[in-house]
């Protein structure tokens, strides 16, 4: 009997080894024939238009049952973003939220209020704790302290009820590569239950993936996966979408499409909260932001108000003698500071300074014998403001 057992133990090992070798060879062969993030050669759409037409912007897609990507069904008055949401609650509300990993505090006593019906940016440098906050909000990891609610529903106490009205992408959107886009959505729709199943086709159409819905996800590009992630979010007809770094890996056209889609979602009355470290994209997409640094929210509010509230005005001075001009301005004590740059002299006015201060600079320079060719008020961007309020400012580049 022992000989018999030993015999088929060896047989089992032989068969397993052979199968493993065969499967590996098969996968390798398939991998070289169909690179994962590119169109398979035989399925690549062929563009037979003349070259000049190909370089022109694409024609709008035929109007579908739901709007195509970035094209809302019709313009509507955008609801005013603001705190008083339905039922008097915020879309996202946290108080004293804290999440630690050992001695590292990833989310530090966060007080966050996301108004309803707007695009809200959660902005911070890499490693600031943006994804950890999102994971904590969604119940993917437990908080160490504080309270939070989504759409007025406390989480994690009533997490299931809250998440039924939330769609989210955390980190990069990942799917079963061996299944098609449609099958992946079927899986998620089955988990959601209810009316998610019938929303699969409209969601795919909306994100522009209807034609590739029956291709395997392994053949999708990063941009297509991002769009499939948004389609997955839309299955639940969510009131709140939480998107973690949605622009990651997208080319400029993809970023433009994503931006348009986010704006459309907001116009439909949904709230979109997105985290990003791309300041320019957030400034273009969002109405309000919260700046997070080292796990702590250091500023939050509408972008315009935050930039206005930065309190300083920078004036670029184009003149004949910048060094003399700087000395005159500093002697007159009308500026908070001066700096020499490649473009010339820049003067930072003190907080709350009026436009008269610019005229005063001009008058003093002319009186001092400096020829002034131009004075230009430099607009503070979100990036300038972000760098001024986060710890990144003092870091060596």
């Amino acid at each position: 009997m022992h000989g018999f057992r030993l015999g088929y133990i060896l047989l089992i090992l032989l068969v397993i080894g052979g199968l493993g070798f065969g499967v590996t060879r098969l996968r390798r062969r398939r991998g070289t024939e169909h690179p994962r993030d590119e169109w398979p050669r035989d399925k690549r759409p062929r563009d037979e238009r003349p070259r000049e037409e190909r370089s022109a912007p694409p024609e709008p897609a035929p109007r579908a049952e739901v709007p195509a990507l970035g094209r809302p069904p019709a313009p509507r008055p955008r609801p005013e973003p603001g705190p008083p949401g339905p039922g008097g609650s915020w879309a996202v509300e946290t108080h004293g939220l804290t999440k630690r990993f050992g001695s590292n505090v990833a989310v530090n006593d966060v007080e966050l209020l996301v108004p309803r019906g707007c695009a809200f940016g959660y902005l911070g440098p890499n490693g600031a704790g943006k994804t950890t906050l999102i994971r904590t909000l969604l119940g993917l990891t437990r908080a160490n302290g504080g309270t939070m609610s989504l759409l007025g529903v406390p989480v994690p106490a009533d997490r299931r009820r809250a998440l039924a009205r939330v769609g989210a992408i955390v980190d990069e959107p990942r799917f079963h590569p061996h299944l098609t886009g449609r099958e992946n959505l079927r899986l998620l729709a089955a988990a959601r239950g209810g009316e998610a199943g019938p929303r699969i086709v409209p969601s795919l159409t909306r994100v522009g993936l209807a034609e590739r819905a029956d291709d395997r996800v392994s053949s999708y590009s990063m941009g297509m996966r991002q769009r499939l992630g948004v389609a997955a979010c839309l299955l639940g007809d969510p009131e709140l979408l939480i998107l973690d770094e949605p622009m990651n890996g997208l080319d400029p056209a993809g970023m433009h499409e994503m931006r348009s889609m986010i704006q459309d979602l907001v116009e439909e009355g949904r709230t979109v909260m997105l985290s990003s470290h791309l300041l320019d994209e957030v400034e273009r997409t969002c109405d309000s932001v919260a700046i997070v640094d080292h796990g702590r929210v250091i500023r939050q509010g509408p972008i315009d108000e935050l930039i206005r509230g930065a309190g300083t005005t920078v004036v670029r001075v184009d003149c004949s003698e910048p060094v003399t001009a700087a000395a005159i301005i500093e002697q007159a004590r009308i500026a908070a500071g001066t700096a020499m740059a490649e473009a010339g002299l820049t003067v930072t006015l003190p907080a709350g300074a009026s436009r008269e201060a610019v005229a005063e600079i001009n008058r003093r320079l002319v009186e001092g014998g400096v020829s002034v060719y131009g004075l230009q008020e430099v607009r503070t961007t979100l990036e300038d403001w972000f760098l001024s309020v986060t710890s990144r400012l003092g870091e060596p580049s």
């Binding site: 339905p86 009533d158 039924a164 959601r192 439909e268």
Partner: protein
């Protein structure tokens, strides 16, 4: 066009979804998986072509290969090669099928337990708000609905060939070289023994010096002559006659049990570790290294420890049709008339059931707990 309410600032669809969300939230609370969820988990595994090929080969491959070749040989050269089916072929196929099937079950179980994690889909599923326990429980019927039918088909194939492509059943069987009428029950065997005392004595005396004996250790000398004869007769029937239908049914159920338990353990272990390769290797080590070592012989003062191995407990349940030989403890001591082919004394039935249920339920609980508490 979507209507936007001035009061709420939400489109009609979104407002509707608020109310629906409350109802859906109540449904999400259920730990019972829905039919749709089970079907999509089945789809998720069924589409893994490499895995499905391996599982099909490990379950169907052996009987198809062996019986197919035997059938072909017999068709082309019936004088040299006998019929494809025979009692010995039946037992020789079913025992490896259990081993291969356990490994197939382990491979599938660990895959089902880790696919969502390794593909990064688990967090998508959790974010839907569905109960994590429901997500775990949906994997069990999905995986079993792949495995059990494959094993059933493979076993049905073996049974059909054994029943319809076998040698004619003999009217008598040889018990230690003594010819005894076939298919006697206990009372008929006792009556035969009273009528033929010399043949009975010869049968009890065991095989002659040139005669092949029955497999297994020597009979227990403390047993009564009637029970010893009965044990030898039963063992001879197993090796010389095709198993009856009820015995085939027992063997089929035992195979499904062994493979089902293997799947549950693999699923729990895979969910616990989150790594398919490591889990599969551990399962194979358990099946083809740890269990044979523990079941090789009774280790002094560690017999009860050996009996805690699920392989030992499942072996004891092995139907008598797959465990020829009289053995020290005689056949038919536990459920299914099982006695096992391993070399350690049997444990009480309640202990055997406890060990099997403990492994299956215990690993399921561990897997579900890990899934419910895992940070993603």
């Amino acid at each position: 066009m979507t209507e936007v309410s001035a009061a709420t600032g939400l489109p009609a669809s979104a407002r509707g979804s608020s109310a629906r969300g409350v109802r859906a939230g109540a449904r999400f609370g259920s730990w019972l998986p829905t039919w749709g969820l089970i079907m999509t988990k089945l789809l998720e595994q069924r589409k893994r072509r490499g895995l499905m090929i391996v599982v099909a080969l490990l379950t169907l491959g052996l009987p198809v290969l062996v019986l197919g070749l035997r059938l072909l040989f017999h068709v082309f050269d019936p004088k040299s090669y006998g019929p494809a089916g025979s009692p010995s072929v039946f037992a020789a196929l079913c025992n490896p099928m259990a081993q291969f099937g356990f490994i197939a079950a382990a491979a599938l179980g660990t895959s089902v337990g880790t696919t969502d994690l390794t593909d990064g889909v688990f967090r998508h599923l959790v974010v839907t708000g569905r109960s994590r326990l429901a997500l775990y429980l949906a994997r069990i019927p999905a995986g079993l609905s792949i495995l059990l039918p494959l094993v059933a088909v493979a076993f049905a194939m073996v049974c059909l060939v054994t029943s319809y492509e076998s040698t004619p059943q003999p009217a008598s069987i040889s018990v230690n070289g003594v010819s005894v009428p076939a298919s006697l029950d206990q009372s008929q065997l006792n009556a035969w023994a009273q009528r033929h005392p010399r043949q009975e004595a010869a049968a009890l005396a065991g095989p002659g010096p040139d005669e092949p004996g029955l497999a297994g250790p020597a009979p227990d000398q403390s047993s009564s002559p009637a029970s010893m004869l009965s044990a030898d007769y039963t063992a001879s029937e197993r090796t010389q006659l095709n198993p009856p239908v009820n015995e085939m049914a027992k063997i089929g159920l035992w195979l499904e049990l062994e493979i089902g338990v293997g799947f549950l353990i693999g699923l729990g272990l895979g969910s616990l570790l989150g790594q398919r390769t490591v889990s599969t290797v551990l399962m194979i080590v358990l099946q083809i290294i740890v269990t044979p070592i523990l079941a090789n012989s009774a280790i002094p003062y560690f017999l009860n420890g050996q009996r805690l191995d699920v392989g030992v407990a499942l072996d004891q349940l092995r139907p008598a049709g797959l465990a020829p030989g009289t053995g020290p403890h005689g056949p038919g001591r536990v459920l299914f008339g099982g006695r096992g082919v391993l070399n350690i004394p049997p444990m009480p039935t309640w202990a055997m059931i406890s060990v099997i249920v403990g492994w299956a339920v215990g690993w399921s609980v561990i897997g579900a707990w890990r899934m419910a508490t895992r940070d993603t």
